[in-house]
Point group: C2
Chain length 123, copies 2
């Protein structure tokens, strides 16, 4: 099952967790975007900038090339560390490095998340 409300709650929880870790965070709703590339969550701490595209999915999925390109721009132009954040029911967020996801053609499944995903404490 996939729902907007579920994704929203998961993202909200993520931003609060990052705030507890000392990050300043901002969540950009899709509706607030104005034709410029932007990730779901931006977090910054001591000059370190993180951008996250958030995905709440139970089964395998593919990140759109356009979104990968957005994140690549944030990495290359802004100097951010870019992640795909994956949230599965009853599991903690796992974070995939953009480079790993790009190398895998944007494809993300359970095994890939298990192999490559890192905890929020390691971002």
């Amino acid at each position: 099952m996939r729902s907007y409300a579920k994704g929203y709650r998961a993202e909200r929880s993520l931003t609060h967790k990052l705030a507890e870790m000392g990050y300043m965070t901002i969540r950009a709703p899709r509706s607030g975007r104005i034709g410029l590339p932007s990730p779901d969550v931006i977090a910054a701490k001591d000059g370190k900038l993180i951008v996250i595209e958030c995905k709440s999915r139970e089964s395998a999925f593919t990140v759109r090339a356009e979104q990968l390109d957005e994140l690549t721009q944030w990495a290359n132009k802004a100097g951010a560390t870019a992640y795909i954040g994956c949230k599965q029911s009853r599991k903690d967020w796992k974070f995939l490095h953009l480079s790993d996801v790009v190398a895998n053609g944007g494809n993300i499944g359970k095994k890939f998340i298990e192999d490559k995903g890192i905890s929020i404490l390691d971002i």
Copy 2:
């Protein structure tokens, strides 16, 4: 005169201008905020992070202490450079350093903007 639409258009124009200058930008609508401090615009380029609280005002005004505190947190915890961006009709944006605005008790008027405001090219 002060209107939401006018402020919105001015902010949109600002984010596009920053994008032209090579910044990655994000605009956070008030509605997208979830109880965490967040400025109106975040821009980043080559690891340099800028946060801007945007004000479209024709007459003198005072920035709320709560907003100054938000920006101070972004400066101190995230390592961002924080500005109050001021837009007056038929004039370009001017940017005031947070420290100048704090030192002035949050009060901003035309003379203050003329004395302390810098151009977008100097941020």
